[in-house]
């Protein structure tokens, strides 16, 4: 697992209180990991802070799964 992927997963485990094994690439934040609208906003903010990037709102809307988050951040770095 890449460094970015493991840091993304650690944030998701911490913020959503889910088991690490559930945080797979295809897992949807809302449908699979129990996030609500506030959680998803917080996750995006945490990604921004952790990786020192800006994720505009219109692009944040397209980050719905663990894999999408990892790909977005890898591309942005």
């Amino acid at each position: 697992m890449s460094d970015i992927a493991s840091r993304v997963k650690a944030i998701i485990v911490d913020k959503l209180g889910v088991d690490e094994n559930e945080v797979v690439a295809e897992a949807s934040f809302t449908n699979d990991l129990g996030a609500d609208s506030l959680d998803t906003v917080e996750l995006i903010m945490e990604f921004e802070k952790e990786f020192d990037i800006q994720i505009p709102d219109d692009q944040a809307e397209n980050i719905a799964t663990v894999g999408q988050a990892i790909s977005y951040i890898e591309a942005a770095k």
Binding site: K15, L16, L38, D39, E42, M45, E48
Partner: protein
């Protein structure tokens, strides 16, 4: 319309002197002080360096980690105390009509630590507003009862009363009236506060409201003592299950006491200073007795507001003498704030619980730390100094007064 009778069927407490209702009572009767140097933040530059913190509290022992993270401490405390009270009442949540169960809560401030943290984050940044999406829903004072109803599915009235240090007595009175008028069968009521933060300590210090007895925290809260120098900030929660009498009887519930009545008034005088003649305080106790249909002579015990401030304590005792006349000297008067410190919006709740447990056990907890006579206090009054006293308490009154001149009083009766 028929006015229903209302009883107390469950209690829960999370306080600086005990983390359950039973531990709290043991602390009260044994005269335990909850005051100690503050552990939450560096107090080096603060005028007051101690408070009554809740000890050994780990929210995740009670609340799912993810849920706990979405709550300010004042809401966590509320949840823990409410859960204890609901369990204590042995309410069968599958049988009760949840449309007729309300949660009416008191909080003087709300999520102060959350507010402070978010503003500090912003101030430490580059001006970009990066506020956490949980900031507002964690901070607002009404979120405590909201969380309780979400957890248990209670769909009756749900709100928070805010009247500074009278907040949870206001909540109890509203809960009483809701059941009296037939709007609800059961109300989870009480209050919580978590203001032992840099903003809370700094703010109250600026008002010269807090004791600065830093060399001896455990003796700093000394209501009615000649050497008192201000209140000691406390935190925590108290929860009470109020229930319609027939509803409680029908399910064979344990009944602690009847909620006989309540009273409300305002000083209409000053933002923070008590009225020198205690006019509003006289009025609130009169209102309360009238509301309960009782006479001054019926009252055995008064748990005072008694915060250990120079002006407030004397004004309250003068008001008691005025309302109760020659009977005042027969009453067991105390201030349990001598042990718990001042829990602000939760004070009315934990002191109502102390009053109810005095009825239950036939013991009045002491006003600790009394060493010096105050010449301005009538020596004939029994202030239950330093040691608990046995007393068959049939009627107990609990007073709370808030900054802004809000006065609230509730009265409990043995059943």
């Amino acid at each position: 319309m028929e006015i229903k009778r209302v009883v107390v069927t469950g209690l829960g407490a999370l306080t600086p002197i005990g983390n359950t209702k039973d531990e709290y009572w043991d602390g009260l009767v044994s005269g335990k002080s909850g005051a100690a140097p503050i552990t939450y933040f560096d107090t080096e530059k603060f005028k007051t360096t101690f408070a009554c913190e809740v000890k050994n509290f780990d929210a995740t022992q009670y609340i799912d980690r993810r849920e706990a993270r979405r709550m300010d401490k004042f809401a966590q405390y509320a949840m823990v105390a409410a859960d204890e009270a609901i369990a204590d009442a042995k309410l069968n949540l599958d049988q009760v009509d949840k449309l007729r169960v309300g949660v009416i809560w008191g909080a003087g401030i709300g999520g102060l630590e959350t507010f402070q943290q978010e503003v500090l984050n912003f101030a430490g940044g580059d001006g970009t507003p990066r506020f956490n999406p949980f900031f507002i829903p964690k901070m607002i004072a009404d979120i405590a009862p909201a969380n309780i109803s979400i957890k248990h599915g209670f769909m009756g009235p749900n709100y928070t009363t805010v009247s500074a240090c009278a907040s949870s007595a206001n909540a109890i009175f509203d809960a009483l009236n809701s059941i009296r008028l037939g709007y609800t069968d059961v109300v989870v009521t009480g209050g919580s506060e978590a203001a032992v933060t840099i903003a809370g300590m700094g703010g109250f210090n600026a008002m010269h409201a807090l004791s600065t007895r830093n060399e001896s925290p455990e003796s700093a809260s000394r209501p009615f003592d000649g050497a008192r120098d201000g209140f000691v900030l406390g935190e925590g929660a108290g929860a009470l299950i109020l229930e319609e009498y027939e509803h409680a009887k029908a399910r064979g519930a344990k009944i602690y006491a009847e909620v006989a009545g309540g009273g409300l008034s305002s000083d209409a005088y000053h933002m923070t200073a008590p009225h020198p003649e205690g006019l509003g305080v006289v009025e609130v106790m009169k209102n309360c007795l009238e509301n309960a249909g009782l006479n001054p002579e019926d009252v055995d015990h008064i748990n005072t507001h008694g915060t250990s401030t120079p002006l407030g304590d004397v004004a309250e005792l003068k008001a008691i003498s005025k309302v109760f006349g020659s009977h005042a000297k027969n009453i067991n008067i105390n201030s349990t704030k001598s042990m718990t410190g001042h829990l602000l919006g939760a004070a009315g709740a934990i002191e109502a619980i102390a009053s109810i447990l005095s009825i239950e056990h036939g013991i009045v907890p002491p006003t600790i730390n009394h060493t010096t006579v105050d010449e301005n206090i009538d020596p004939e009054l029994n202030l239950t100094l330093n040691k608990a006293q046995k007393r068959d308490v049939k009627v107990a009154m609990s007073n709370t007064f808030g900054f802004g001149g809000h006065n609230a009083c509730v009265l409990f009766k043995k059943i």
